[in-house]
């Protein structure tokens, strides 16, 4: 991004909520019309900020799910138990509402859409990978991107149909006849020539990073995005 674009991306503006789609009780897909939008690279994130009448604010980061070519910015918000921001976004927000936002942010966990990439995601960590998937199709190079994703069950996987039909390797760890992204599976998808984008909870990303290193994926080719509240699934910090 040019300097002007970076400054514009960091500027808070009011985005209009165009649609709200619930993913069961687990999360919500928000599609936003962002004024003066700077086009993101798949993997980058937006910050949403909620503002109360007394000036109190709370903000959180969410990866863009939409392709750069999309007219709107799509975000997947996982409902965190007792989450102040995610609870509000999932339960109160309606189409037509305005949400303060800024972005896109982050130049590390971002795919250029031109070089081979391996995306590994756990649960809602698939969000930035879906943006990569949509972008790879847009630019006519689906072969550049390989995905391996996992969730507890099929119902727990956001964008399940889109991921399954894309040919992504999908593992359901807590379902009958399920499987895991274990060392052998990751060894089969590891690609030293690709950049590996790993997104998920602290526990998930630690395990994947260790599998990738064992499989010979160079340390310098691994990029990690951690999220979640704390403990089992920990946020950046």
């Amino acid at each position: 991004m040019a300097t002007e674009d970076r400054k514009l991306a960091a500027t808070w503006r009011d985005a209009k909520v165009v649609s709200v789609d619930h993913h069961g009780e687990l999360g919500v897909v928000l599609r936003l019309d962002v004024p003066d939008r700077v086009v993101h690279r798949p993997g980058q994130h937006y910050v949403l900020r909620l503002r109360a009448e007394d000036g109190y604010t709370a903000s959180r980061s969410y990866s863009a799910v939409s392709a750069p070519s999309d007219d709107l910015v799509e975000l997947y918000v996982e409902k965190v138990p007792d989450g102040e921001v995610s609870g509000f976004l999932a339960e109160v927000v309606e189409p037509g509402d305005l949400l303060e936002c800024r972005g896109p942010i982050g130049r590390w966990f971002a795919w250029d859409g031109q070089s081979p990439a391996l995306g590994i995601g756990g649960g809602s960590g698939v969000a930035p990978l879906v943006s990569m998937l949509r972008h790879a199709r847009d630019v006519g190079h689906p072969e550049l991107l390989h995905l391996a994703v996992s969730a507890w069950t099929a119902d727990h996987l956001p964008y399940r149909e889109e991921l399954e039909s894309s040919g992504a390797l999908v593992a359901y760890s807590r379902q009958k006849g399920g499987s895991r992204l274990d060392a052998a599976v990751i060894a089969a998808v590891a690609d030293p020539g690709a950049t590996a984008f790993v997104c998920g909870s602290a526990r998930f990303t630690l395990a994947m990073e260790s599998h990738l290193l064992s499989a010979g994926q160079p340390e310098s080719s691994i990029r990690i995005e951690r999220f979640g509240p704390t403990g089992e699934s920990a946020e950046n910090g």
């Binding site: 970076r6 500027t11 009011d14 109190y56 980061s61 942010i105 130049r107």
Partner: protein
């Protein structure tokens, strides 16, 4: 900016803990983990810390040598740019002032670059790590620092966002000019003062 329809927040603004900088929330007892690269693997026995660059006496210390210099404890708050803060927590290590007294910064030194064993880097003005503002630490709440939190030894610069406190610290280089580090190149603010919400490039 517009008020968010229907949002009142968990707390009244007036009831917010005054120790929390704007836009931050309290994580309580937990301590989230941020890493953008694979977690460092450091052998404490072979680890050393070097201070070099614009100093009269470039010096390296083993962990044992650092511990022999004495122990300082920081008790207070830490703030991550991803909006969590951890309040009233403690770290034990050695003040960077003590190490700089040995290395003796040259008059033209103005900036430092912290570097990890993973080659992670972050840049700071020298004045942000002198005068009781920065430590090299090996314990958290009285226990050895775990690997995922930067153990065996990490930097602690608690008055700035926590990406300025490099995990797995191995080298501190003094320079006469500013040299953007990992997050600073990747869209984050150069200084990172949580009280001024200097999160991203352009804030």
């Amino acid at each position: 900016m517009a008020i968010t329809r229907g949002f009142s927040g968990r707390r009244k603004q007036a009831e917010r803990d005054p120790r929390l900088p704007p836009g931050q929330y309290d994580v309580g007892k937990s301590w989230p983990v941020l890493t953008a690269e694979p977690t460092g693997r450091v052998d404490a026995e072979r680890w050393s810390l070097t201070i070099d660059g614009l100093v009269a006496h470039p010096t390296s210390w083993s962990l044992k040598e650092l511990k022999a210099l004495g122990q300082d404890t920081y008790r207070g708050d830490i703030h991550c740019v991803t909006t969590w803060s951890k309040l009233d927590t403690s770290f034990t290590g050695i003040s960077l002032d003590t190490l700089l007294d040995v290395a003796q910064p040259l008059p033209e030194a103005r900036f430092v670059v912290e570097e990890s064993t993973t080659r992670y880097r972050t840049n700071l003005p020298l004045e942000d790590v002198t005068g009781g503002k920065a430590w090299v630490v090996w314990e958290h709440e009285g226990k050895p620092l775990t690997r995922e939190h930067g153990g065996p030894v990490r930097m602690l610069v608690p008055h700035l966002y926590f990406w300025k406190s490099a995990k797995w610290i191995s080298k501190i280089t003094l320079l006469d000019h500013d040299e953007p580090g990992f997050w600073e190149i990747n869209g984050y603010h150069h200084r990172g003062d949580p009280w001024q919400e200097q999160r991203f490039d352009g804030d």
